[in-house]
Symmetry: C2
């Protein structure tokens, strides 16, 4: 029996995007966003939603570029910190000891220590309500060589983080359940 | 050392949304979409991106409503099947043996057997390229009573599925890494 929980923004899982931008003066900032995902295959695009209260919102509007650095499990504390602190009050790179790297492709910094990075140019935004959704075209994807290993899934090697937006908990990924566009054949043949 | 993988739509994790719609004649359809996530907190909204080639695209344009049913791990084969087959050629509910339930709040069906459901009204769409992004306002969230259990995270009980879009693999969620808006305090105090 299903029970109503009311109207609230909850799905499982949500990702942990660490979004890198420069402010007007060129100071690098990062913030964590979980209202985010892939938006298009061709051109490859991501979407992420931000409140106007964030520094990243204004940096993005001005610079029209951002990066997404995906933390591995060992950086879950830093990822959480990037979602708690504000770039208005603190230099989050300095406070965390992590390293901003200037992208050579877009006008934004990424996190050197995080193993997986998207470099994106803003192509569209739309104000929904409290959040504005931003669509960024993925100009390049970069990953540490040690997580690019033949047929092993990046997820095994990257150890990405998932977020539970109802109970505010971070998860690692667990066991492989099956191969997509494949295990469903058994249903078709029933 | 980071290596370029080229421009491609890859992030970790992506969710497994089973999107329910009615066609012109009132036939229920479902498809699986992983280019999706939360788009806004207030009003609570999800986004999902669809190709024009799908039945769901046209159903959504016509009916302006959809549901998102989140499968638990035990339904990973059905979720995969819903992403492989086309509603143009087959009744996916009949083929899978799963049950369409008419939402009382929006003009769309959801999957009875899946434990977590969002009922949504379309409020915006924007054509990006191959995919069009749809924004739906969440009118209600419904969950099976056995997954709503005090302080235990829904993720433990729901057992949602994550998708690796590079290697086409489904994952379960793994261990809890920490409490959000909390474990980051250690970084702030460094």
């Amino acid at each position: 029996m299903k029970k109503s929980l009311g109207a609230k923004p909850v799905v499982y899982p949500t990702p942990v995007f660490v979004v890198g931008t420069y402010d007007k003066a060129g100071k690098p900032n990062v913030m964590t966003a979980s209202w985010a995902g892939i938006a298009c295959s061709e051109p490859p695009c991501v979407c992420l939603s931000l409140r106007k209260a964030t520094s990243t919102y204004h940096n993005l509007m001005q610079r029209k570029a951002f990066t997404v650095s995906l933390p591995s499990e060992k950086y879950v504390k830093e990822a959480d910190y990037f979602g708690m602190a504000s770039g208005k009050n603190v230099d989050k790179f300095k406070a965390s000891g992590l390293t901003p790297v200037k992208s050579t492709l877009v006008d934004a910094p990424y996190v050197e220590e995080f193993p997986f990075v998207l470099e994106c140019k803003l192509i569209h935004h739309h104000e929904i309500g409290l959040h504005t959704i931003f669509i960024g075209m993925i100009i390049d994807v970069k990953a540490e060589e040690n997580i690019i290993s033949g047929n092993r899934s990046f997820s095994d090697l990257l150890k990405p983080i998932a977020f539970d937006p109802e109970h505010y908990v971070y998860y690692g990924l667990g066991k492989i359940l099956g191969k997509a566009f494949s295990i469903g054949e058994a249903v078709a043949k029933k």
